[in-house]
């Protein structure tokens, strides 16, 4: 049972590391940006939401890395 659990945990860790990477903010920021863009596209052009949301996500993640270094 313990062996099976540790195998599952290892696979989970590998998938998490592969998809989420060093900072979960990037994944969450991307999902939030795309979610807002999907909602905005119902009433008006939404490409600008993604164009602004993506660099904002990156800059926020970088600022977090900078804070951690301080």
């Amino acid at each position: 049972m313990t062996q099976q659990r540790s195998w599952i945990v290892r696979v989970y860790d590998a998938v998490f590391d592969f998809l989420i990477g060093d900072d979960w903010v990037l994944a969450v920021g991307t999902v939030v940006t795309l979610g807002i863009a999907a909602l905005v596209s119902l009433v008006m052009a939404s490409w600008w939401v993604i164009v602004l949301g993506v660099p904002l996500t990156l800059v926020y993640s970088l600022s977090r890395a900078l804070q951690l270094k301080k």
Partner: protein, 242 residues
């Protein structure tokens, strides 16, 4: 234009990952024997082949808007991860990738040089994991990029060209390829993945890009500009602190 970027992105991404895999395989080959290194590499490549053959057609069967949203979203997250790392390295906040150091660390970790002709278990595991994990990123990029444009073959060609190049150079040089500008390549691939991800994910959520496909060039320029400004911003912060 898309085909060109497709080949460039898969070639550059594969080059970066394969240089990293080569370092591990060389370390195992030198310390634990080439039989161990080659058998582990072959097993890992076989596993990757099964993953690509298994998931490639499966992904291609998804409806195009769903495919673009899922693939675009994943590429976006993946691209931002690469960009983040590259920007942090370019601004001095993260140590540059050093293949010579990684090679030395791997050799030290593997311990004594094996003299037997049998396959060494520890060496096999290290080489297998190294090739499989580095290769997974390549497989992901090849399958997603290829499937979205219905050009998996072309994407695989870019990866194959990088593999051939790394193997040939590796055979001649016989030591870690520390002169490959990994950080610049990683930044370039990050920019491409983020741009394509932005474009496809945008189409997936119902955004209509002004100018159609031409918008991709604008997105590329925008991501490049944001990356450059991010590096300058972080460098100014680190200089002030220093």
């Amino acid at each position: 234009m898309r085909d060109f970027f497709l080949v460039v992105a898969t070639f550059a991404a594969s080059l970066v990952e394969m240089v990293e895999a080569l370092t591990i395989v060389l370390a195992v080959g030198i310390t634990k024997g080439w039989k161990t290194a080659f058998s582990a590499t072959a097993t890992a490549l076989l596993t990757l082949g099964v993953i690509i053959i298994g998931f490639g057609p499966l992904i291609s069967k998804l409806p195009l808007p769903v495919l673009r949203l899922i693939v675009g979203g994943l590429l976006l997250i993946f691209g931002l991860q690469w960009l983040r790392k590259a920007v942090l390295r370019a601004s001095g906040l993260k140590a540059l990738h050093n293949e010579d150091q990684i090679f030395a660390d791997e050799v030290a970790a593997l311990g004594d040089v094996a003299t037997g002709k049998n396959i060494d278990g520890k060496g096999f595991t290290v080489a297998f994991k190294g090739v499989l994990l580095e290769g997974l990123e390549v497989a992901f990029i090849v399958v997603t990029f290829g499937a979205t444009q219905h050009r998996v073959g072309l994407a695989a060609l870019g990866a194959l060209a990088a593999a051939v190049l790394v193997v040939i150079v590796g055979l001649f040089v016989h030591r870690p390829l520390s002169r490959v500008p990994e950080n610049s390549l990683k930044m370039g691939v990050g920019v491409l993945l983020t741009s394509f991800g932005t474009f496809w994910a945008g189409e997936g959520v119902g955004a209509h890009w002004p100018g159609g496909d031409i918008a991709l060039l604008g997105i590329l320029a925008w991501v490049l500009l944001m990356t450059g400004l991010s590096v300058l911003w972080l460098r100014s912060k680190t200089v002030v602190r220093a």
